[in-house]
Symmetry: C2
Subunit: 370 residues, 2 copies
């Protein structure tokens, strides 16, 4: 049987658990998974997919992970940057499927559009918690779409953020950020800055998040300029060949550039501007040995976030566990579980609703068919 | 919105269309897709996945296809050979997801366990229709599980099969084959042969299908021996490194060995025993230029079937089309389509059932949130 977890089911989980608590749980679960990550136990495939320009610029890609002995998780992601403008739908639309490795059945299919935003926020929170100044209060944000909301929320769970300086290439999107944040962060002051104000945003931020849909080749979106010596940057948007958000000078000044997935960051992230030798510890090492890296809190640091299947597995497991506990989601017989395993026609020829599970005794199986 | 097509929905399609007609439609649609296949328009990725021995021997793999400008299709397959014995569930459990490339949403998720058996039968029917003797009446089958049912049914749609000689390593499975075939092929005579009878099965068959779960390294399952000069073999089972069903001598005698996917057959199919130079036309070429290859009908031929994402795309599209026409399946808002695309929390914070689609006007979007 398969548990279907829709966006409304996820809303019920959020209502039952509380959105702050759910995000805290996700940050903790992801931190635990990273700190204990054993690549022989939790195996991930490189993200791959189809990119196209017809009927519109977009891609569909998949991010598989195996938790050996338990689960396979596959998140599939559509990324179509024109969606918000063209159809009012999110640019990222995703689902995560969990397969039981005892029998291969699809155990869970879960909405992952919102989960992607949450887990991306959680990853930035973990990097920020290790590397940012403990009293960081000013958060700069470049790109005010869906990811910005969870970046700001998640970072506010680990640092005492009081003020957000926000910029978006589309002033209308920047203009609604305060309203979108108000339900979860009523006391945070949002100040929108225009393009000439980007220098001030960079200069005043204790933490900076970049989460834009800048086109490949069109970056960076952050200027070169003055910044706090202790600035920590979460560079979230770049996940595509040629796409970058940070100027090379800022990256080169950093005392640490930490990738989530080194090879992927070198191919698609900010690290495209660097070489492997320039990279610091990956996110798992950063979290596992946090005492070692906290010494960089007084210096410029960058987290290069491109997304990792492990994060999606953790997020889907967390939500699926809540749904199971709370009796949420719809359990359906998507695949033929109650059937004669040797007869693909058993369930097609039994009247719907009358397809009783046959015994595995061959004679009785035949009897059920005749 | 996403259309969920369960096994019961598929049963309703079969009831509405008729199982013979559905299979005929699938054979025709697959033949059309193969004959017109343009690899720039219909792009497939290599099948890949996770194989493991814990908690049981099995694998989960995915087979992606892009129909440029229209759809991405991803079939995910679990293969756990112990399922029928351990839990009475099919060894293959699969689903196919169809994504709309206009916006990336998951448009359809469809049961594909039964569809996999049907499309594998349809592929064998197409190869058989080109290469087997026109009056082929005796069908040999080695391996009498789920795939055998659709192999026999599909081949009976293109050749006047009157008698089936059937062998399975498990006599209990062979013993129920007649009962499983009876609903669709009431006039076909099934004779079960034991292991010593395999020589006679090979000698008398006009067409032979091998569809076993023989372990890698343990094959072949067909002996060397006398056979009709015009024998056509559909070798369906081998799709794993080291797995083979046919003896090397039989393969080498064949006037044509036709792979479905040449590179995959050389890695996982019967063609593991051959080199690229030994291979004849692939299935698409065979179907496209059938007049050219029908000259081999009087000679020994082999179709090496390992499975292709194009087949799964065609099968899922056919069923999805029927469901849309007949109003079958359940349409759910799995992913947040009616939402503020810039606010991942919009649907989490709106009470379930009251989440009206906001206008894309920023000011009204804010209003809806406050």
């Amino acid at each position: 049987m398969t548990r279907l977890i829709t966006v409304d089911d996820l809303a019920e989980v959020a209502a039952a658990v509380g959105l702050d608590a759910l995000l805290d749980e996700l940050i903790a679960a992801l931190g635990q998974a990273l700190a204990t990550h054993d690549p022989a136990q939790l195996v991930t495939h490189d993200r791959t997919g189809f990119e196209y320009r017809s009927p519109t610029l977009g891609l569909v890609e998949w991010m598989p992970a195996l938790d050996l002995g338990r689960r396979v998780s596959i998140k599939t992601v559509g990324y179509h940057p024109a969606n918000p403008t063209v159809s009012g739908t999110p640019s990222v639309l995703a689902t995560t499927s969990l397969y039981d490795t005892a029998d291969g059945r699809l155990a869970v299919i879960c909405e992952a559009t919102i989960l992607t935003a949450l887990r991306t926020g959680a990853a930035s929170a973990l990097a920020t918690d290790v590397l940012a100044a403990p009293d960081a209060a000013v958060l700069g944000v470049v790109g005010c779409g869906a990811q910005a909301v969870t970046q700001i929320h998640a970072i506010s769970r680990v640092r005492p953020i009081r003020r957000v300086l926000a910029h978006d290439a589309d002033p209308a999107v920047a203009g609604t950020l305060a309203a979108r944040l108000a339900p979860v962060l009523p006391d945070v002051v949002v100040e929108v800055v225009d393009e000439p104000g980007l220098g001030r945003l960079l200069a005043e931020a204790d933490v900076l998040c970049t989460c834009t849909t800048v086109a490949p080749g069109a970056g960076p979106v952050v200027p070169e300029g003055e910044h706090r010596p202790w600035l920590h940057v979460n560079a979230v948007g770049a996940d595509f060949a040629g796409k970058r958000e940070l100027p090379a000078g800022l990256l080169r000044q950093a005392s640490l550039v930490c990738p989530d997935v080194p090879a992927q960051c070198l191919a698609e992230g900010e690290a495209q501007q660097l070489t492997a030798d320039d990279l610091g510890p990956d996110l798992a090492s950063l979290v596992r040995n946090r005492a070692e890296w906290e010494g960089h809190r007084a210096r410029l640091t960058v987290f290069d976030s491109t997304g990792w299947a492990l994060e999606d597995l953790v997020a889907a497991e967390l939500v699926a566990g809540h749904c199971e506990r709370l009796g949420l989601g719809t359990v359906v017989e998507l695949q033929p579980m109650a059937t004669d395993p040797h007869d693909p026609y058993h369930r097609l020829l039994s009247p719907a609703g009358q397809a009783n599970r046959p015994t595995t005794q061959p004679t009785l199986t035949s009897g059920a068919l005749l």
